[in-house]
Symmetry: C2
Subunit: 259 residues, 2 copies
């Protein structure tokens, strides 16, 4: 039985399940999403009409969902050890139908109506100083401001929407915003990040008060340089201190947002 499997071009790949990643980045001004256009080839009409889509792929039979998402991300960005979290599975019967190309022919005969279920992840990338390169399955890669996401392939607009909601929810439970910033950052940058994700203005003094009180930031011996205004103090996030905070507040949310 393995013999036949090995002769199939897609052996070892699960034709029913994919992962898709909503990759967020922050350029100190806006929240952005990384989208791709697929290469020509057998997958071509999966993203019909050249539309932009979320990076994603069918999973292999030997990898977990998390691993598959990490693989997709790695293939696309070359980055590893990136914040990655599953947030929802999508499986409406009309969402994605596999194309009836030769490679899946056997399978299509047996499951003419099956659709692809996708497990969606969101991912946070320090886009500071990182420009994604088209590679592997992507013909084209680009960051889009979250407010200017075009019509995407399949149900990917819905997935982006849900991903943003998930990000907002989790931002108020854990300090994941730092995953989107370089090691050193200013409080102003951090506040703009929170405002970009939550999509509302926050009071500067209250935000700083609440953030500093958590005692998870350490001020560096360094200030901004070359800015046309009063230079800001740099801080970094202290993982160790956050772990301590967490231990003392086992059940509580990590909420730095004035409601």
């Amino acid at each position: 039985m393995d013999q036949k499997a090995k002769t199939l071009p897609n052996a070892g790949i699960n034709p029913n399940v994919s992962v898709d990643c909503v990759i967020f980045g922050f350029d100190f001004e806006e929240l952005k999403v990384l989208l791709i256009q697929r290469k020509e080839g057998p997958d071509q009409d999966l993203a019909r009409e050249g539309r932009w889509a979320l990076p994603g792929n069918l999973i292999r039979d030997d990898e977990s969902l998390d691993t598959a998402a990490g693989r997709v991300l790695g293939e696309l960005t070359g980055l590893e050890r990136i914040y990655l979290q599953q947030f929802q599975a999508f499986g409406n019967p009309d969402r994605v139908r596999r194309q009836a190309d030769a490679e899946w022919l056997h399978y299509m005969r047996e499951q003419p109506n099956a659709r692809v279920i996708t497990v969606a992840y969101f991912s946070l990338v320090k886009l500071h100083g990182f420009e994604p390169q088209p590679r592997s399955f992507a013909r084209n890669v680009a960051w889009f401001p979250i407010d200017e996401v075009p019509d995407l392939a399949f149900d990917h607009n819905e997935i982006v929407e849900s991903g943003l909601l998930a990000l907002q929810r989790i931002l108020r439970q854990r300090p994941i915003g730092f995953e989107l910033l370089p090691r050193k950052f200013t409080l102003g940058q951090l506040q703009r990040l929170y405002e970009a994700i939550l999509r509302r203005p926050l009071d500067k003094r209250n935000f700083r008060k609440k953030m500093l009180k958590k005692d998870i930031l350490v001020a560096l011996d360094e200030k901004q340089q070359g800015v046309p205004h009063k230079p800001a103090q740099y801080y970094r996030f202290d993982k160790q201190k956050y772990a301590e905070w967490e231990e003392k507040n086992l059940d509580a949310d990590f909420d730095v947002v004035p409601v």
Copy 2:
């Protein structure tokens, strides 16, 4: 191509994706989980050694994930319009392997190493006055206290754990506890429900103060009868009032728990 599909016993069923439900109930004392033992038959060794398992099933090609979960629940309990929410997909490569029975033989040849991905839902049932009957795919059905869940089939223990965490999280964001109680209930019962889910004691006066202040409960003209202590006031949850609360507090959690 449909011809061949129709001759297959499992046509229209997706062999790679299932849904599983963590069904919670509350008997005024403990939080409970509904588990099943499967019927003998082709599925028999899916739940090896007669172990208890979560209710679940492979999905059909013509239904959404939510629909599939609702179907499983309906087949099992006869109940409909029950609180049901997806919380996580599980897909470790070693979690569940399809058995190589005759029905899936074609498929098994092509995907010898595929495993079943499952999308897990949690569900809240008013178990008050409801006794589940073994039916459809279940040989045996029973409620287990959340602290006394036995060794389950596959990775179902892990799924139950995650389901409880998801329930705890969401209980602090929305007033879903009422889904586990009958229409009329006392504040004491409500508090015990919160304590059972969150697994810690809450201060009675503070809990009542916070809960009543939300203005989502209405006192009924009725008190407990036949109890060997001072009879408690009955209340009911007012969905309309909660909708109003929600509108006024768009971003906030619905948190009635003294931290």
